[in-house]
Amino acid sequence: MLQILIQGMLLSGLYALIAVGFTLIFSVGRTLNLAYGAYLMLGGYLYFWASQSLGVPKSLAVLMAMAFGVVLGILKFRLIVKPLKGDHIAVEISTLILAVVLQAGVILIFGDSSKILLPIVGGVIYVAGAPVTYNMLIATLASWTILLSLYLFIRRTDIGRAMQAVSMDTKGAAICGIEPDRVNLITWALSGGLGALGGVFFASYTQLAPSMWVGPLIISVAVVIVGGIGSIIGTLIVAHIVGFMEVIVVSVLAPELRGVFTMGLIILVLVLRPQGLFGREEL
């Protein structure tokens, strides 16, 4: 029981970290960035390359991965999202294509086989007989810190408020003197950085593989859809629902069923309450 609780807390923290970047873009730009999973993959691979091949110190490698994610986010906004001028479906399809291209690119450079990432922070602590790696603990703490600071950033700073305004009504925000393009660019950059950071932790939790972007993408989708648009608190809560249910399903039912609940939740919520559990009324 206690083990489920601890494992659930840790996994949920990781999921919240993964999903938050996706939530940002979906809330502000209202587009689904299907290449979001690719940020995670590339972040993880860059960290792997920097720390395990070049021998860069781990903390620096994490920063490098984040910077890389920021650059990717900016490039993607400039080269794909902006030229398509807000055609959501076109953006979704082209980001899906981009994700597959990036996956192939990773195979081209690093090969097809999966790689084991050394934990970012080594060591294990036993809590009530359950092994808890420092790695997961750090990921969870980082996730909470990031979510909290993001919440404050969006509520308290001017840029954050501008993001909120664009999320609610792009035209209205533009009339008030906010440049939606700039806000979008910042959002994409932020989301790229957060995605890459999430990817480093996710990769050290599972392993690095060229196809690793699909799983986290679906988790992010679930969290955003169920949590609702523009709700960081919703993201946090739903990440815990998804994480806990997964741990419970794995330990009580069968490990193979781990994603079934998540998929079922997506379908059920979209059909019954499309605005999400905590989101604003729209559609």
């Binding site: 689904l32 399809i93 294509i97 981009l98 291209v101 996956q103 859809i225 079922g264 559609l283």
Partner: protein, 315 residues
């Protein structure tokens, strides 16, 4: 329907070309062409559902897989004749199409795309866990009865199937229903305002798409003789189908066929240079560039060239 002589001529030439191909090309190329034919069928199925209505399906393998699995299980585990198993598979797929239709009655756009993606992933996981004695679990099934032997027969079967489906779908979209479906994609409330039932229209598009997907999936599994969940319910498979439609030209039925053949041959010709999954890098890159540059696809480019030629000739 506004059929003109050149429509008949073009389809006739296409049929003639398909019929003559086995005389002209090698067996290996024929096997490639068989895949192109099946990809074209799946692309047409996707086009029927998503090309016009604006309900983008990211989980089309869900439908294809249900058709394929139903037919495979019926023939292999229950010893049902293939002639009976395939129609049953099509009916089961159409029932599954109704499941996909349900969310489409309430949500659209990105949300609908996500539900279909979730359906596919759900199916992927359930197939491995529920009754592995029937579905073959993670490893899938092999030794499924095949319909034809040899590349030439397989090619003729797939070509006839693809041709009949293509002409039927093409004619269907030239009727008033096709126009109504286009309108559905442009403005749903306007369609409702003109007294048409959007529910019936959507149901029609989804049923037609599921019918083609089930038929294609069932024949495909009886061509391959094996089935595995990872190869089927795969996001790369979705990607291939969608890219085939988009590169060819969505909502035209002819476009997806062009796209399917173009992509299959692009992949085949890259094989000697890039043997592994790296091909997807070039292939996806080309797809992305083409899509960004001309979202309406090759079909639109050809039509533009044809019209400018036509104008020059009549001047």
């Amino acid at each position: 329907m506004g059929l003109r002589w050149f429509h008949f001529a073009a389809w006739g030439l296409f049929a003639l070309g398909l019929a003559l191909l086995p005389e002209l090309v090698s067996k290996g190329t024929l096997r490639t062409l068989i895949f192109a034919n099946y990809l074209a069928i799946f692309a047409i199925s996707w086009d029927l559902l998503s090309g016009r209505t604006g309900y983008i399906s990211f989980g089309h393998p869900f439908l294809i897989g249900i058709g394929a699995y139903t037919s495979a299980i019926l023939t292999k585990r229950f010893g049902v004749e293939v002639e009976i198993a395939i129609p049953i598979a099509v009916i089961v797929t159409m029932i599954a199409g109704l499941i996909v239709l349900l969310p489409a009655l309430r949500i659209r756009g990105s949300y609908f795309a996500l539900v279909t993606l979730a359906f596919m992933e759900l199916m992927y996981q359930l197939v491995q866990v529920i009754r592995p004695d029937l579905t073959g679990g993670t490893r899938g099934m092999s030794g499924i009865q095949t319909l034809t032997r040899g590349a030439v027969n397989g090619f003729y079967l797939s070509s006839v199937l693809m041709f009949v489906i293509a002409v039927a779908a093409w004619l269907l979209l030239r009727t008033r229903i096709g126009t109504a479906l286009t309108a559905l994609g442009l403005n749903e409330s306007a369609v409702e305002g003109s007294g048409l039932s959007t529910t019936k229209l959507k149901m029609f598009a989804f049923m037609a798409s599921a019918f083609v997907a089930g038929l294609g999936g069932a024949f495909y599994v009886h061509y391959l003789g094996s089935i595995a969940p990872r190869a089927l319910f795969d996001i790369n498979f979705v990607f291939t189908i969608i890219v085939a439609v988009l590169i060819g030209g969505a909502s035209t039925i002819v476009g997806p066929i062009i796209g399917a053949f173009f992509l299959t041959f692009l992949l085949e010709y890259l094989r000697p240079f890039l043997p592994g999954a790296e091909r997807y890098f070039i292939y996806g890159g080309i797809a992305l560039l083409l899509y960004m540059y001309q979202p309406k696809g090759i079909y639109a480019m050809v039509m533009k060239a044809w019209h400018s030629l036509h104008e020059r000739a009549t001047k």
